[in-house]
Symmetry: C3
Subunit: 347 residues, 3 copies
């Protein structure tokens, strides 16, 4: 798709300096952009590139005063960066919305129901009694088990697998390779040292406006539901165990894991590679630093770090001292020597 | 599928109070169950729900005395929870066993042999000389490379990939997205700073009754086999490197990793996000706490924690003190001051 | 395929003792090998097996003096282990190169271009304008989005997903389940506590001779490219965030993660389960110990460990003391008591 400066200026409500007919077909960084690309300049330290770039159209701040003539067509807006982001968002939505129709081969059960404007990519599998809302985009090689329900405007990227009986809300995005609804890890130890599987017959509920990254695993509940509440954002390679709840607008960075039956509150921020044990509660608004290991409930919003995790500020002070432990030990030895000498003198 | 109270009572050997013809088609928690669902009551603190639930059938303990009339049909058993679990297990087995036949499109090599009652889901790939035992259920989008052998009653969930030459035993369950037999991570450093790949020509052997979670990676051996011994249970997102052995009935929680050539004994319990270095041995019956980093062999069964990991009880004591390090440092400063004063006085 | 001792001796430039017509079809460890298999003996402690093994051909060191007669045909070389590795490499290349042709069903866009000798496995998807170099092997169930470019001799194992617009170089290997080009984790917090997605319109560039393990996730850049430079080697389950660069010949062990916009230099060695925060720089040649958490730039090559990570040698000393913290505290208490007594006496 090609867009003219005139079209772009209209979308972002900017004013044009140069040829309104100049056309671009892709985006580039100002320092690398080629002819036919759109770039932006927001950070003044990149201004020099404005005069050397090959970009055909550049979005710049209204306030910027040119020091030299510029080859590109300029579009001036109050805030170049947010106009650029707005444009990208609009562009991506446009491209995504154009996906439509059923690619072959794919397998769609006769008992499945698909809304308007749904896309089903090749090699995707849609089981019995599945309900797919309007505008849902199912990329190739996706698996949707029996009785799954998916709300409108949701996007499932290539290779997502959703096991039988799970529910996914509207406007959800799930990235490639993520598994929704695998069995919870439940095995009852037997007296002979073996294990007996505890049947996992619950499901996973992913509410509206959730985004889940690539290659995550979200286990179904033993009974009831594992729930990712509305608006939560999960990065890649995250493990959510059975019967966990993740609160609304909670954000979890990559490679973190939450163990069984733990309830994470709303607007919690969890760094990367964090582990949270099972059967605890994390208060709304808590912040958990990367690589922490949370072993106890957090009952009031606080920041924690470390493994086991405790109060962030106190932990930083303890860490600072811990780096000097060899020196501290030396000081203790020195004290012991001095006391020994004093005691000997005293005798 | 619908089941009557009479049928259920027969399976779990219970006695009916109410209409034996009452039918249910799914399960629910007693506090949420709707008409047409089966619930159970085991924990006395939920007894109030017994009188308000909409569930059609409820399994309760023989000993429970009703305080009020109940709408649902009751089935009394000695232990409601274990009868319920037994019922779920039976139900799941029933559903799973009904899967049968070859969905199209799928690709099955002419030289592959399939046992009785095998299910092959759409978009699955079965390579040359593959042997599949009876009752094996291969869900959609599974890849089984050449010369793989799979024992009877095994279940491969959607998207599992098993590379060429690997062996999977009987009654094994592998969850979605797990990769069995990818190359071990072996690269010989060259004098010019580059690396040369060490060919990985071994395989992976998964013995009987093993369960492996979703999105795990189990690398093939350089030479010989990476082995998951009978009855071991692995959670999600676990990394098992080349030439590792995991002992029978060892349990590993999510996101843990075991490095190359390490031998983990039997009945070991490994928490989540644990790392174990290569070329060591972990004694049978050891327990490794979550997020530990095990850097040395554990030669006799013990519990460890920390990174690097050491004796669990000692580590907990050290952790407790380490949180007070700033205060400890203050006490040392105070001692130094006092000694300084005493020394000055003495002079 | 069967190979005779004569053929093998020619490839590895060895001399035969026994029947040059002896044929083998697979490899085995000397202690386990069966008739029709090739084994090697490099480590003298395994010499006893030389006289009992059923292997048909054995590669041994020139220098080895036989203590007993041997049934197998021997091939003598200066260094048995490296000749064996060389042979395996040659064998694997041979097998891999034989893969050719387009399996059905697969979906290849009319606008895609494929080089000579390309293999496309069943259920693979190749989108619009994709360019595939010669000898590329695309195993089953792979997804290649629109406008992706893949250099010659590259191997994509089953289930790899490469999102639209990414570039993969020549002679690259990517293992099963790895996701290239999923969205970077970028969400702008809004004043009402919700998040707005930041469009991710960059791509991923994987340069020549890179190897990436199974079930990794490499996110596309917000703008520009996430880059894995030539010759880097990544193990399994690794997370590379948006706009990260990994330097040439850097090696990363399993389950490590690098956060957004961080630049990792060349020839860096990163252990398993390491976390590196965003927006920092790691100097060429640095070494990061397993499970470290790197929170600050490393400006000159050094070895680090711990979370937060610092100088390796200093960290080990601090760790050693930290294990004795309870004893250290006892010594402080003892000092306090002694001083107290001395002060009381002095009064």
């Amino acid at each position: 798709m090609q867009f003219s400066a005139a079209q772009i200026a209209m979308i972002i409500n900017g004013s044009i300096e140069g040829d309104p007919g100049t056309a671009v077909g892709s985006f580039g960084k100002i320092e690398e952009a080629k002819k036919g690309q759109l770039a932006f300049l927001a950070n003044p330290k990149y201004e020099d590139f404005l005069y050397t770039t090959e970009a055909s159209i550049i979005i710049i701040n209204e306030a910027l005063k040119l020091r030299q003539p510029v080859n590109a067509t300029l579009i001036r807006v109050p805030d170049a960066y947010s106009s650029f982001a707005q444009l990208l968002g609009a562009y991506q939505e446009l491209v995504a919305k154009q996906l439509k129709g059923i690619q072959q081969p794919s397998l769609i059960s006769n008992s499945a129901s698909l809304g308007e404007n749904v896309f089903v990519g090749a090699f995707s599998y849609i089981g019995d009694n599945v309900q797919i809302g309007e505008n849902v985009k199912i990329h190739p090689q996706v698996y949707i088990g029996n009785d799954v329900k998916i709300g409108k405007d949701t996007v499932l990227h290539p290779g997502v697998k959703i096991y039988q009986g799970c529910k996914v809300g509207a406007n959800v995005t799930i990235h490639g390779g993520t598994i929704i609804g695998s069995d919870g890890f439940g095995f009852a130890p037997q007296t002979d040292g073996t294990y007996k599987k505890v049947p996992q017959i619950g499901n996973v509920v992913v509410e509206d406006n959730v985004e889940i990254g690539a290659n995550c695993t979200i286990d179904r509940a033993t009974i009831g539901s594992t729930i990712i509440h509305a608006g939560a954002k999960l990065d890649n390679l995250i493990q959510i165990a059975h019967n966990v709840e993740i609160g609304s607008y909670t954000v979890i960075a990559a490679q973190s894991g939450v163990s069984g039956s733990t309830k994470v509150g709303k607007n919690v921020m969890i760094g990367g590679q964090v582990g949270i044990v099972g059967h605890i509660t994390i208060a709304d608004g808590s912040r958990i630093n990367a690589q922490s290991g949370v072993t106890k409930s957090i009952n009031a919003p606080m920041a924690v770090t470390g493994s086991p995790a405790f109060n962030y500020a106190a932990a930083l002070r303890a860490q600072a001292v811990s780096r000097n432990l060899p020196e501290l030990e030396k000081r203790i030895k020195e004290l012991e020597k001095q006391i020994q000498m004093m005691l000997e003198k005293a005798v």
